[in-house]
Subunit: 435 residues, 2 copies
């Protein structure tokens, strides 16, 4: 829930650009209305909403001649899709991307990307997960060795990518019937794509005479072995699997690719019957929450001189993770605190609004997150209820007696204990209790 703050609050999430129909805006801005940006063909440019953050990032590097950067970016992307909303899929949604661009020694940035995905999924405590890793060059080498014609590599790649939601039999059918492979070739692919392992598998495949004679596959397998040695240093190999069935459909990947998958399934009470069939969805498998890889050619496509900048990165599906966290919060009995407010400034007596505002302002100035009810004479009970509802842990209560004595009654909402604290010590006392 920490991340939500970075997205501009829980509410902001639902106010979508795409849904702002023209009529909604008309008649609310007076003479400024002429500045509203209509999308329909103004300026004559053919525009699209961005599909991901990777291509715009590559374009940004090329246009600004940046050869060396590490950054994260949280922003919205758009898919013309019919997604399953209850499972955190939308046509407009946030992605969080992390990318490392630059010419470095092999596999060090790649290992860091995987470490980051591992850390995020581990800390969010979303249950067990796996990160599948493969390499486009291994896939290409494998296709070559199995006898797939060059021009079919990409389309077969897309078909292999469906293995996470389709049985091998169906994938094979698509290869043979739709993509025109021979049964033999498909079967040979089938043998490879059933393989899973770690550094050991990379080593074993390096011994495979056919595969290791293919230049591409050899380079990929050598890097994979190196990658796993770094992943071991980063202590993440318990969740990372070298999986030859991982393909990822996007064209721009050139080396290592990966995808993180949660083991947890969504409780039946939340998903509707129509969605039980996960295979309906385009693009990503059920449970996939992050993916990425190396795209060494993309920046060069935007550079007028074709200068290349090697890049590796990962996209994390924040919306998807939030929906899982929300479902978890709903099913758990623990109350979610909906505010960061540390203390409510309250009063049991009438006519103390000014004193409440004064104290609130003093606490704000001292960096305390304080709140006050916007009422002249609220009842003490309703002030305490407000704390219970929102999870504010402390109440600073002012009364005639407290003002006379120069103290504030500080109440712990959970334990109901109250203690008089001198005004001068109040800030320190609140900080101590809300550390």
């Amino acid at each position: 829930l920490q991340l939500k703050a970075q997205l501009g609050g829980d509410e902001g999430k639902h106010v979508f650009v795409l849904k702002t129909a023209k009529e909604t805006l008309t008649g609310k801005y007076g003479e400024d209305s002429k500045l509203i940006y209509d999308l329909k063909d103004q300026g004559g440019e053919l525009l699209s909403l961005r599909y991901d953050l990777t291509v715009p990032f590559a374009r940004y590097l090329a246009l600004n001649k940046i050869t060396n950067i590490k950054r994260y970016h949280i922003a919205k992307v758009y898919r013309r899709d019919n997604p399953a909303m209850t499972r955190g899929r939308y046509r407009e949604f946030y992605q969080c991307d992390f990318d490392i661009a630059g010419q470095y020694d092999a596999m060090i940035p790649d290992a860091e990307c995987l470490k980051i995905v591992y850390e995020i999924l581990n800390e969010l405590d979303l249950g067990d997960f796996r990160i599948k890793v493969n390499d486009r060059r291994i896939l290409d080498g494998m296709f070559a060795v199995c006898g797939v014609p060059d021009e079919k590599f990409r389309t077969i790649c897309s078909t292999v990518d469906k293995l996470d939601k389709m049985a091998w039999e169906d994938v094979k059918k698509e290869m043979v019937n739709e993509k025109g492979l021979s049964e033999d070739v498909a079967d040979r692919i089938g043998e490879y794509v059933s393989m899973q392992g770690g550094q050991d598998l990379a080593e074993r495949l390096l011994q495979d005479p056919k595969l290791s004679q293919n230049k591409q596959a050899f380079a990929g397998l050598t890097d994979m072995k190196l990658l796993f040695s770094y992943l071991e240093l980063f202590q993440v190999t318990d969740k990372v699997v070298f999986d030859l069935s991982l393909a990822r459909g996007l064209d721009y990947y050139t080396g290592v690719i990966y995808e993180a998958i949660l083991s947890q399934t969504i409780p039946a009470s939340v998903s509707t019957p129509a969605e039980q069939n996960g295979a309906d969805e385009a693009g990503v498998s059920v449970g996939s929450v992050a993916g990425g890889g190396r795209y060494d050619g993309l920046v060069g496509m935007f550079d007028p001189k074709g200068r290349k900048v090697p890049c590796v990165g990962v996209s994390i599906g924040i919306e998807r993770i939030f929906s899982i966290m929300e479902q978890k919060a709903e099913t758990s009995s623990e109350k979610v605190r909906t505010t960061e407010t540390q203390v409510l400034v309250a009063s049991a007596q009438k006519n103390l609004l000014e004193e409440r505002l004064k104290l609130t302002s003093q606490l704000w100035n001292a960096g305390i997150k304080a709140e006050v009810l916007y009422k002249k004479n609220p009842k003490l009970l309703s002030q305490l209820q407000h704390c219970e509802e929102t999870g504010i842990p402390l109440v600073a209560i002012l009364g005639e007696q407290e003002l006379k004595d120069g103290v504030v009654k500080l109440r712990n909402v959970a334990s109901r204990e109250e203690v008089d604290v001198p005004r001068a010590d109040l800030v320190d006392e609140i900080k101590k209790r809300t550390l």
Copy 2:
């Protein structure tokens, strides 16, 4: 610069949705390309990009039947304009809105909004500023008293709003020549709009027999007096001015309105000659960085049953503030730290990449922001230079001797002091030094 992180990093800011032309995206996503959202007329809906965050917020409250909320929202808005980029004005830019919705006792949330603007501008240390406050009801009452016909209130309001970049003579000319007021009426308006003050001015105008007999003006002035009493408790009256010339062009305001203006001007070296003439720009005066007010009618416009939710809020022009901060940073000799990294894990000797990665991982796991150069055998000098350039304050240096002794050489980049720290104490030592 703290705020930048919330926007998804410095870089993200420049990657604009609007500039994503269709060709940029084509041919990079393989079979997923069909999911790219073209804007041209798909679905047949007439769409606009959002012009501000206030109208979408009001719509959100109405559609979700929310009667009670306080929230902030940082997001992009779009203006079909020809803005002066060097002064932080764009057609696509971020706004930060803060709003309080709900039925409360008068002027308490309004005072909180002003306190927030005051705090932000004060803490960002952008030089002297003023927050002008007025009330739509006072303006309307004033117009009525001066003899402006009802149907011209809004358009005269827009003209008055230009007083911050046009001389009274020109404003008067527009009122008389373009908007058809008589000279008399315009002169009477002129007398009022030259008035500035605080609680005293509100009290004085309440004594004005004509103005105080107007119901609207009386209500506005009574609230203004109350507002200033709260602002005094919040200790912000040194910067807040009741200014009868403040009008704000937008139609949806119903009560208190305000606008924050920086006194600081942009150095001539930065602005181009063409932009010296601030009057070229539509909508906002030079130096205006925040504005807002009460809009009690807007939510009701979106509710099928017309149920009203009183609201007050403020929009802060983040982009504008950033451009001022950037200019400040450029002209100052102080070096801006471009990273949050606390420590670089380095080595003076060859073949220690694995040890460097292991230590980096350990530091990450302990919550330290650590970095390592992605090279097998970087030179110590280039590692130290990297720290100087980016402002990383500490270097943890590993060598054969250190490994044998179970220590790390911790170097302070600025002072060049080095000390051997036992591995077990390293995390604590780094935390202590980078608090």
